[in-house]
């Protein structure tokens, strides 16, 4: 593995010994650094494989494709860590800081992979699946039919076009948020903010029309 942007880092003063040792060897020269990078890669690969195998089946990814994704996530995480080593401030253990990179890499790669599936709906609106998604019992449809009709009206009348698009994709069509961010050329934070505002508007509309209570307890 080649050295990337290697500089002499200032090691934060109050580090636990293990974290200090990681910084020392990763910021140092030669064989010691290479060995540390190999060890770090092995640790991150194990985490990537476990996470990919846990999340993959839900996204219909398995076998060699999933293994490749884990290897790529670990490699990219090691690269990011070597580039950003100087940003580690010792607010956590070094390994926790490092593991975060590989977890986020796995999430991002699974989001991108989602669109390789041939059966992904985006434009369709399958509102019939919504009752099951929230656990409404078919036998009690007379109790919740009006509520979901009001929700659908609010989606059409209260939300902006962008909020509606995001709400339909995530809630109605069950598209993962990270995958939608990829499709819309956006990011997780921006899509979440759009959903946050949409949720607030929809709840206000349902409260105003008497379908939900305006308190903190919720309906049991």
């Amino acid at each position: 593995m080649t050295a990337v942007n290697r500089v002499v880092y200032e090691i934060p003063a109050r580090l636990d010994p293990e974290s200090a040792e990681w910084l020392r060897v990763l910021g140092g020269p030669g064989a010691g650094r290479e060995a540390a990078l190999a060890r770090l890669h092995e640790m991150l690969l194990g985490i990537a494989q476990r996470e990919a195998r846990r999340r993959g089946p839900r996204l219909l990814i398995a076998g060699p494709e999933l293994e490749d994704l884990a290897y790529q996530a670990a490699a990219d995480a090691v690269m990011a860590i070597t580039v950003k080593l100087g940003q580690f401030r010792g607010e956590s253990r070094f390994t926790t800081w490092a593991y975060r990179f590989v977890i986020l890499e796995v999430s991002a790669k699974l989001g991108r992979h989602f669109w390789r599936r041939p059966d992904v709906p985006l434009e369709a609106e399958d509102w019939d699946r919504l009752p099951d998604r929230f656990g409404f019992e078919p036998a009690r449809e007379s109790e919740w039919r009006d509520l979901l009709a009001a929700l659908r009206r609010a989606v059409d009348t209260e939300l902006t076009a962008r909020q509606r698009e995001v709400f339909i994709a995530i809630v109605v069509n069950d598209v993962p948020l990270d995958a939608l961010a990829v499709r819309l050329g956006s990011n997780r934070n921006a899509i979440y903010k759009i959903m946050f505002d949409a949720r607030r508007k929809l709840r206000a509309a349902l409260v105003a029309n008497g379908y939900l209570d305006d308190d903190d307890s919720g309906r049991s």
Binding site: P131, W144, N189, F196, R199, L212
Partner: protein, 73 residues
């Protein structure tokens, strides 16, 4: 939980919610605090609120916590 409460809970928003970017920026700090039994929710209420509401960030939190706990064994 029935459909009414599930929908109600999903639509509720917490004004303390810091959003994905800030939650992920501090995730390693938050996880280390949880891993040692510290009161992360009290110290970082905005991150706690976000992790409760955001599926992807909540999943990343659980994954990082699991990784920390497994490698500590």
């Amino acid at each position: 939980m029935n459909g009414w409460s599930a929908l109600d809970r999903f639509l509720r928003t917490d004004p303390r919610d810091v959003g994905c970017a800030k939650a992920m920026e501090m995730l390693h700090v938050y996880v280390d605090l949880v891993a040692v039994g510290g009161d992360a929710e009290e110290r970082y209420p905005g991150i706690a609120a976000h992790l409760r509401a955001c599926g992807p960030c909540g999943e990343d939190f659980e994954a990082l916590l699991a990784a920390v706990r497994e490698t500590a064994d």
